[in-house]
Symmetry: C2
Subunit: 324 residues, 2 copies
Amino acid sequence: MSFDEALAYFQSNDHFLISTHESPDADGLGAQYALCRGLTALGKQAVALNSDAYSAKYSFIDPQDLIQTIGQCGDSLPWLASAHLVLLDTNDIHYAGQVAAFALAHKLPVFIIDHHELEASREISGYAVMEASSCCELIFELLKALGIEMQLDMAKALFAGIVYDTGSFSYSKTRAGTFQAAMEMVTLGVQPEQVHAALYESSSIQALLLKKNVLSTLELHRDNSIAIQTMTQETLIQSGASYIDAEDLINIPLQTKSVAVSILFKETDAKQIRCSLRAKGQINVAAIAQTFGGGGHKNAAGFKSTLPLADLKSKMLSLLQRLF
Amino acid sequence: MSFDEALAYFQSNDHFLISTHESPDADGLGAQYALCRGLTALGKQAVALNSDAYSAKYSFIDPQDLIQTIGQCGDSLPWLASAHLVLLDTNDIHYAGQVAAFALAHKLPVFIIDHHELEASREISGYAVMEASSCCELIFELLKALGIEMQLDMAKALFAGIVYDTGSFSYSKTRAGTFQAAMEMVTLGVQPEQVHAALYESSSIQALLLKKNVLSTLELHRDNSIAIQTMTQETLIQSGASYIDAEDLINIPLQTKSVAVSILFKETDAKQIRCSLRAKGQINVAAIAQTFGGGGHKNAAGFKSTLPLADLKSKMLSLLQRLF
């Protein structure tokens, strides 16, 4: 669907449920908040509704407390029969959790706005721009074209989503339009420093202790080109952190020039091991993950295994040798 | 001096030595490279010349190998008698090392382009904009106004400087003009991902080992609001890293919401201890550094001491209690 068709869609409908994927992130939430505010300003009925509550650290994105869970709202809407579901930051309704079941039960037409890769063979109903940095960048352009006056709270929410999804303007999809949008947001009064503090200086002390303890397990192999870190169940419990706090630790070794592959083994409570792999440049770790029954992209993949850690590690290392 | 006066300066002179501060960083080097390229394109004579060689990791900023050390060049320039020294990214000639002595010996007029704070009482000869994110942002605007066609290598050098000096568009001086400049650079073909990889994925394996070992010394005090890390001389030697690799480690604890002050004790080879302090928000660590004979800004300060580490730490902790 073209940009103009997407505009026509919002102009010609009046009742919107706006949602994003489960475990919503700053891009989904920022887009959701700003779109909800914008459509309401246009005189439309719009409600932002997710399958689960967002993490407390994202509350700065939703200063008017607009984003509800399906349990809080849902069936009570008087205009539900004529509502459309706008799904943001995912191209698959199955990632919307209970919202998917709700949409199905009420036969709501679904309209997707997304920027993720989509197989050429798949068609979605909605507006997808794979080259866009973030869903927030797309929503910014749509709101402008709809003639909606951007308020500071909306700009701040959208800026947060762009920063989050571009690694602060560093990932490959960061394009001229991304900087253009950021420029306009800052002109409206958004303070980059404030948004960064809210996004990145609010992690828990437990996450810091986890970083300390997991980094202390760092091993280097094959002339320092392979880095391995291990998070045992004991480490996780001792630090008091949650499993999700381990997410970024795999990226630390990749800041090193010689490290081409970074691996993180995480023991889950079921004595299963989850393994994440990240690679730089031309190295393809998806094939390795597939060997263990997992999957992913060339530079980011993962799998689960019930092999003992030592066996898993030696099997992994011998497979990795072939990649170089 | 106004922007127009700065333009007139470059239009009315013909021979330029272009330099930056000692231990040059990406902002100084990017500005130096692009200005040298730009003035040469205008038909001027321009040579980029520093007191010391830049770190190998910055060589991507200078693909034409234009930036020399004063030992390589200096006295041999035929037009030295009519040369001006343009000093970038510092407002004090004393930070230019041997270039300062050289300028004095040859009685070169000095013209400063900078964006650092300047006491109101001090006057410099040159163009200083304290609100600018970086020296590279200023050079970008000047080159455009001089009618110089921006080539990709120049844009890439300037983009690197902006990314470096703004913490990737996150520090408080990141303004609309910063994003405007970035947008134009990306339109010219700069790839943010590539610049980030060159700046931030090229640290040494020794620096990674140092991070692991220093982070393992992390202590938390006063309800997790004070973080202390210690780098002994032994840790430094064991990791094989250089002293400068310790620079960023102090920032890790500040990503935690509860940590308001982060301290790093570094043992130097002279059995002296260098202490760095960083703070968030309203906490002023400069006063503490002054107590120990050091100095700095409200949120970033430091000092040297010959006290034993244990004594220093307990004295520091009791002083810190008063700040909260």
